[in-house]
C-alpha cells in the first residue's frame, strides 16, 4: 500500500512540470483565440444596436473591446496538484453613435463613452483551457 502511494505521489510530482509546460504552450494560442472571439462579439454587437429616438437625435450604443490586452499565466499552488490559471485583461468599451436620423447615426463615428477594465480568469484542465 505504501509503495503504491509513493508511486502515485511520484507520478503526480513528475507530471506537474509537464502540465505547466503544456498549459503555457496552449495559453498563448488560447489567449489570441479569445481576443478573436471578442472581436467577433464586437462585430455582432454593432449589428444589433437598439436605436433610441431622443427627439432631435437618434442615439445607439454597443459594447466593444480593446485590441490591447495582456495574457498572464500562473499556477494556483494551493490546489494539489497545482492548477494552471490564465488571466486575460483588456478594456471593455461602451461606444455611442448619434445622428439626426438613424441612417446618419449608423454612418457616424463611434465615440467611446465608458471604459471598464476586465480580467477574465480561466483554468487549464485535461489539456484544454476551460471557459
Amino acid at each position: 500500500m505504501k509503495s503504491r502511494l509513493l508511486a502515485i505521489t511520484l507520478l503526480l510530482l513528475s507530471a506537474s512540470p509537464a502540465l505547466a509546460e503544456d498549459a503555457a504552450a496552449a495559453f498563448g494560442k488560447f489567449c489570441e483565440e479569445w481576443m478573436q472571439k471578442l472581436e467577433a462579439r464586437e462585430r455582432r454587437n454593432t449589428t444589433i444596436i437598439k436605436w433610441e429616438d431622443k427627439g432631435t437625435t437618434v442615439l445607439g450604443s454597443y459594447v466593444g473591446y480593446s485590441k490591447q490586452h495582456t495574457c498572464e499565466l500562473k499556477e494556483n499552488k494551493e490546489n494539489k496538484p497545482p492548477v494552471p490559471v490564465g488571466k486575460i485583461t483588456y478594456l471593455e468599451v461602451r461606444y455611442e453613435k448619434a445622428g439626426a436620423t438613424q441612417e446618419e447615426a449608423e454612418r457616424s463615428q463611434a465615440r467611446p463613452v465608458e471604459t471598464t477594465e476586465v480580467t477574465e480568469i480561466f483554468r487549464y484542465a485535461k489539456g484544454v483551457w476551460v471557459y
Binding site: G28, C31, R41, V85, V93, E114, T116
Partner: protein, 448 residues
Amino acid sequence: MNGKWALGFGVALVFCTATAFGSPTQSGETGLATVPTTDVLDAWRPSAGVHLNGLAGSTGSGSHELWRTQFTLGLGLIEDLELTAQVPYIQFSRDVAGRRHTDDVGGVRLGGKYRLLNEEYGDWLSGALLAAVVIGNGRDSFPAILDRESAWGRREAYEVMAIADKKLFSAAHDDAVLTLNAGGLFFDQPEHFALSNQSPSFQRRFRGRRASFSNPFEFATALRLPIYATENFRIQLLEELRGNTGTVDNLKGSVPTRLFSGVRFAAANGMALQGGADFGLSGFLEPYRFMASFSYAMPEQAEPPVPVARAIPAPVALPTPATAAASPAEVLPPPVKRKVVLRGVKFDFAQSTIRPDSDAILGEAAAALKANPDVKVAVEGHTDSVGSDEYNLRLSIHRGLAVRERLEHLGILHERLSVRARGESQPVASNDTESGRAENRRVELLVE
C-alpha cells in the same frame, strides 16, 4: 411497568439525490427532526427513503409497542414544487384484557409542497404550502391515541399546512433558521374517532369525557442553530416545539405538546446523522422518548460536458505576465469600472453546487480580494438562455450565493460581497451557438 412513561427510538435511512448537504427534508416528510421546512427538492431531482421508528412503553393498563416502517419517494417537479409519496406500515401491539392484541395499519400518503416565497430571492421570509391526502387502510380498531399515526387507521384524511422559515443570522458555512408551521388533518369519517370505537379499557379510562376526537390542528415552531461548520460538515442544534389537537390528550382537556431537542451532523458528501430526546409536555402515552436518524444523499448528476476551447498544441513561449502585440493605439477614456469574470467556475447540472475543480479560479479571485482589502464587489451570476427567464434568474442568484459562500470560506468577509441575479438578461455572445452559450454562462465580480 407502572406509570406514564415510554421509551422509543427511530432510525431513518434516506437515499436520495440532493444538494451536497443531506437534509431530512429529502425524505419528503420533514425538514428538521419532525417539523417540515420550506426546503423542496430541486427540479427533476428524485429522492427515496425508508424510515423506521420504534416505540415501547406503558399506559398503566399494560405495555404497548409501536413499530413504524415507512417508504418515501420524492421528486422535485418544477422549481419550488416537490411531490412525495409515502407508504407506511405501522404495527401497534398492546395488552387488552390480559391478552396481547396487535393491529397494523398502512396506506399511502400523496402530497406536495410548493414554495411561494424564498429569502434567497429577496423575500423577507421563505414560505411554502404543503398539501397531502392520506389514504389509510381503514382499520377501525386501530386506536386513535397517537398523534399522526391516527390518520392511518382512517380511510381518508387530508392534510394542509402553511410553513414559514426565517433566517435569523448567518454564521460561517451555515445559517440559523426559525421555522413556523400551522395546519391540520381533516378526516372524511370523523365518527371513527368516537370513543365507542376504542378498546374497552380505553373507554373505561375516559368515561365521562368527550365522546370523540376532533380533526387535529397541528402547529410547530423549530429552531436550527449552527454549532460548528466547515466547508465539509455542519453540526447543528435542533429545537422543536410542536403539538396538535384532536388526539387522546384532548380527552383530558389539554393540548398535547412536545419538545424535541437534538443535534444534527451533516457532511458535504451527503451523509447526515441526527439524534436527540423528545419530551411530551402534556402527554398521556409518551412523556419522553429518544430519536435518532441517519440519512444519505447520493452524489449529484454531473453536468453534461461543457464545450471547452480546443487548444492547438503550439510552442508558444509565454512570458508571465505577457503582453500581446498591441494593435494601433486606441484613444479610450481611462477605465472607470473594473470587473473580474470567473470563467472556469462550473456547477453541477441545473444546480448551484460548485464543482471542486473550480477551486483554483475562486482561489485566484480570493487572493485578488485579499490584496485589495478595501474593495467591495458585487457577485453577479449570468446564465445562457436555455430555460425560462424566471428559472435562469433563480439559478443565477443561487450560483451567485454559492460563489459568495465559497469566497467567504476562503477568508473574504461577508460584508464585502453582495449578490445580484442577472439570469439571461445580459448575454455577451449569441445564444444561438453552444460556444456562445458557454461564453454567456459566467460569474462576474464587479468592483463597487
